[in-house]
Amino acid sequence: MDTKETEILGEIKSKFKVDGRIRRKQRMWISTDKNKLMEVCNWLKDRGFIHLSAISVTDWLDEGMYELTYHLWSYDDNILVTVKTKIDRDNPAINSVEPIWAENAQIHERELHELFGVKFKDNSDLSPLFLEDQEDMHPFRKDFDWREHVREKYYNKENERETVYYD
């Protein structure tokens, strides 16, 4: 039986070289290469996916890669498509999707630049959003252990009532 999801997946596979799977109804996951990202996103926007729900970064420390995910929703077909790409962890840089989804994409990328350190080319404003005077800290990376940081900075080793935090 040909549902809407298999129809759209067939069209994408015939136009671009991507890996795709359908997990359950109304959910589709596509992986692509970072150089082809802008073409796939432009095609999806013209096909009806006008709402960008979220952009997220997952930090795979063992592989040394950042994985970017773009979650797109279509109001006409009621389907969610997730586009995933991988970029290098030590020097993360990728093209911004602000030309496609305007201010919605710009504010998500500004937050990710501050928390993970990803540089988005062509983004109009990458100034800090939540933190003040703490540039270059990038707190959400996996190699920054919060419990060690809090123990060093805030708790006191001399105080005997606080030794329980150092077990």
Partner: protein, 374 residues
């Protein structure tokens, strides 16, 4: 005579910080550039409440996260509890019993009514109708007493909606009390609907947002429905038992502050209808999956990823959870509706308005700064 006089000379321009310690602003600051009486541009200044929720969740197991997820937005804790529990249910393939699904929907809709009452109260305070503020917070306490009877806490239910179902069943007499409280809510709506000339003058035609701009800026929920688009996550991709219930989605085409306020009142009426239907059809049975009855300290989550969307009182909320085979989630991204409403939408709407209209626009967007900073 006054019409033949020259207009007043142009004032100098200055900067104004509509800041966090202002009685009319909440915990959020907006930097305004003003020329005379007209706002030229606005820039949002978030970050007063940033705790780093997404990484805090990576250090805790799913049962501990269920308690932490109430505090994502302090004004509607049970709705956020539900999003997180649904994400873990789908990731670990848990079968939730029927009675638990009905109870989850009843608690989520009561929390939505309570959140819209707060919206009405602070919107009245922002436009100068002080009686509305005191009345709203008086009526809201009926629902908080109900929460205390069923879950144990007035504001934070301590993880009542957890992965696998709900923590405990309704006590005796809860059903009659819920019906009495719903009658009181009907009284409140009748008082709210009396035509108030102050509100008409201050809210009609102010802060207009058209549909194309709303979608481009990322608005969802009542803000998008107030501009004319008929969409609701409960109808587009029904979760829990919303496909078996009969309710409507109110829409208005004007896009101004009065349209959003009107939608808030209509949604309260629909929520009362949903709770009455769900109470009538409540089946008997277990309230939690048998494997999750005793809280386990270590669970093993399979390697997978999910994206779950829900409709909270302020718009569309989503959780993206990735698991790499351990007992804690590897990455948990939270998408809140207020992140988009408070930064792009507010900066767009505040361009070119008079200073006196700023509170009316600000409070009509139904903001919650805790949800934006996370």
């Amino acid at each position: 005579m006054i019409n033949e006089m020259e207009p007043a000379p142009k004032g100098t321009d200055y900067d104004l910080y509509f800041g966090p310690a202002h009685p009319g602003s909440g915990n959020f600051g907006v930097k305004l550039k003003i020329d005379g009486e007209i706002v030229v541009s606005a820039r949002a200044d978030p970050g007063y409440l940033h705790r780093g929720f997404e990484k805090l969740m990576e250090y805790r197991t799913p049962i501990q996260n269920a308690v932490l997820s109430d505090r994502l937005c302090v004004l509607e804790p049970l709705n956020w509890n539900l999003v997180h529990a649904e994400a873990v249910d789908e990731l670990m393939d848990i079968d939730v019993p029927e009675r638990a699904k009905y109870i989850r929907v009843i608690m989520a809709e009561l929390s939505r009514i309570q959140s819209h009452i707060i919206w009405y109260g602070v919107f009245s305070m922002g436009t100068g109708f002080d009686t509305g503020f005191k009345m709203a917070f008086g009526f809201r306490d009926y629902i908080l007493d109900l929460f205390e009877l069923i879950t144990g806490g007035r504001v934070y239910p301590a993880g009542y909606i957890c992965p696998g179902g709900v923590r405990r069943d309704f006590p005796n007499g809860a059903r009659d009390k819920i019906l009495k409280v719903l009658d009181k809510m009907n009284e409140m709506i009748i008082l709210e609907e009396l035509e108030n000339p102050t509100l008409d003058a201050r809210a009609k035609g102010v802060g207009v947002l058209k549909v194309k701009d709303a979608i481009r800026l990322g608005a969802t929920g009542p803000v998008l429905r107030g501009s004319g688009m008929k969409t609701d996550v409960r109808k587009d991709e029904p979760y829990e038992i919303y496909d078996k219930l009969d309710f409507e989605v109110p829409v208005r085409k004007d896009g101004d502050a009065y349209a959003r306020y009107w939608i808030g009142i209509e949604e309260m009426k629909q929520s009362i209808k949903i709770v009455k239907q769900a109470l009538k059809e409540l089946p008997k049975g277990e309230v939690i999956d048998s494997a999750w009855k005793k809280p386990k300290l270590t669970v093993k989550m399979p390697e997978d990823e999910v994206y779950v969307r829900n409709e909270v009182a302020r718009g569309e909320a989503a959780v993206y959870m990735v698991s790499a085979g351990g007992s804690e989630p590897y990455r948990c991204k939270i998408r809140g509706p207020d992140f988009l409403h408070m930064i792009p939408v507010l900066e767009y709407l505040l361009k070119g308005v008079q200073i006196a209209d700023v509170p009316a626009i600000y409070w009509s967007l139904n903001i919650c700064p805790a949800d934006m900073d996370r």
